[in-house]
Amino acid sequence: MGCSWGRYPPAIHTRVVRLRWRSDPVVLADVPEKLLPFAWGRSYGDSCLNHGEALVDVAGLDRFIAFDADLGLVRVEAGVTLAEILAVVAPRGWFLPVVPGTKWVSVGGAIANDIHGKNHHRAGTFGAHVTRLELLRSSGERLLCSPDTHADLFRATVGGLGLTGVVLWAEIRLARVAGTGIAVERVRYPDLDAFFELAASDADHEYTVAWVDCLARGRRLGRGVYMRGDHAPWQGAEASTPARARLRVPFDAPSRLLNRATIGGFNAAYYRRHSRSGGRVTVDYDGFFFPLDAVEGWNRLYGRLGFLQYQCVVPNDRPDALRGILDRVSYSREVPCLAVLKRFGDVPSPGMLSFPRPGLTLAVDLAFRGRSTLDLLDALDAVVRAAGGAVYPAKDARMSRDSFRAFFPAWESFAAFVDPKFSSSFWRRVTGP
């Protein structure tokens, strides 16, 4: 329990308080260190770390509490993964309203980061589908929070990075779907203007996202493969347990395995594999939503130095800012590996500190190369700030205090809801002196 998914920065925790039973009395007030809830460590940066302090491990809170297959409501303890929920509800015609790029995240983490998915333009964030949750405060109080009861605390907890207390369980409103398959169409597009044309079709599809070749420059800037998908009946076998990884990365790869040459070669090949016209095929939901889950420990491909993911959003009327960011990344000497681009919709995010807002969002994985990587990201922050956008805390390990405050002006009103015993490496970094 010493690192996050990006494996940067390293952290040492002096204590781990394990929660196993939601009915057991928990005394957090006596723990000398500051606390932070933790489950599966899938946040990329330091928002799930509490260096020099303690973690409250909720992975043992892994039970379903109730599932109403008529109303589509599921109630689970905070450590249950989205994978387990899907394995139970999908065969019965329901689906999670929002899924991110990996299914191995906990429900507590999905709420704490108010995660989003490929259907943000229709469904908004995960938090928008949480009907209620129970929050354990360090005072020992257990508060039932919902959009109607303790509404302020609810809005602080959704997207609140685990700082308002420990979510013990939550209830989620599921979405009725036509099937567990996804009818998907993949269309390659030559530049950013073509992306904007394709993104105009978002309204007609449940899920849309684009893979971007981050090494393409100039005329080809922003070229990629646009994916749009909709639920469809699936003829294949229905798994009753979450599908496990088929491949595993057993050790840290050499840090130079991923470089601009290997990535450039991969990107060009991937781009050419797709046609301009597309064509629909139906795939299982694992293949569509969670392709990287097929390789367990893929983060080790970046070597022992780890990697940073940078995700930002800029307003729709500032495509120039997006161009500026892609331009800086493609002309830098850094190694951008995987990048995705999507247009967020205008469904309001319920959390005070929620990241998603209307605009264009770009996420890029960058191998960590030290100072030069951090300098590039600082330069990108400046572009995002000038455009009035924001950077995603769940993936961040380095944004400056000033940037955070510019991206999340509600942070001061949020701070009033932070549990006095709770903190995180991220929180100390962006609020400290």
Binding site: S23, R63, F64, I65, A66, V88
Partner: protein, 231 residues
């Protein structure tokens, strides 16, 4: 726990017995959602031997019969405290051995009469050889393994399968105070292996499998040498 989840996913009907009522109902709810056909529960401390008979009857009444019985209770006693206290030693033996034997006696007769089914019991690699650091627990689990050997032999002709599951180090609340090393397995992995062993009707199963090799080596050391080791 994970063994019960595997059965729940296959739609099995379950009857759960545990000491804590609230925890028990949390587990029962979980198994229902995961697909169990029906989940009955009873609160019992295994030391309460007088209630074993009514417990077995309640389970039979709830399910209409028994196909598989899994005994997974146990405590990990503190060796140093046991050495200093006869009472603690006897209690550890009671929970991990004699009360378990009491329940097994009732179950064995029922399974023998119905001429089929499976009795699975969680033992431990600690029962394979006595070590100074853990021999009270080891004696209980070792005695249990011998009892199950005899029971397996007796019930073979009745078509009843008796399984001894021998996990190595497992990361559970029972071992919360033990420093973790790479030999530790996760509880889900062990539980799933238990499910597979029961479904395949194996006799003695080490979980994970490599403990069979480790324990074969540990058992093969002559006592004249073994007694000098700090284990």
């Amino acid at each position: 726990m994970e063994t019960a989840r595997a059965y729940a996913r296959s739609g099995a009907r379950l009857f759960l017995v545990a000491r804590h009522a609230e925890r028990l109902s949390a587990v029962a709810e979980d198994l229902r959602v995961r697909g169990a056909g029906e989940v009955g529960t009873a609160v019992l401390d295994v030391k309460d031997v007088a209630r074993h008979q009514s417990l077995v009857e309640a389970a039979v009444a709830a399910l209409g019969g028994l196909d598989v019985a899994l005994l997974a209770h146990g405590t990990l006693p503190d060796q140093a405290r046991c050495q200093a206290s006869v009472a603690e030693t006897l209690e550890a033996l009671e929970i991990n051995f004699s009360a378990t034997v009491a329940l097994l006696t009732l179950l064995a007769n029922r399974f023998e009469a119905q001429r089929g089914g499976c009795i699975a019991v969680i033992g431990s690699v600690a029962g394979d050889r006595g070590r100074q650091s853990n021999y009270v627990y080891g004696a209980a689990k070792g005695g249990l393994a011998i009892f199950l050997q005899g029971l397996r032999n007796r019930l073979y002709r009745s078509g009843v399968v008796v399984i001894t599951l021998k996990p190595g180090f497992v990361d559970t609340p029972m071992t919360a105070g033990v420093p973790k090393n790479p030999l530790f397995a996760t509880a889900p992995r062990v539980g799933l292996a238990g499910y597979r062993a029961i479904e395949r009707g194996r006799d003695v199963v080490y979980i994970p499998w490599f403990w069979r090799l480790i324990m074969a080596a540990v058992k093969s050391l002559p006592e004249s040498i073994f007694k000098r080791l700090r284990l």
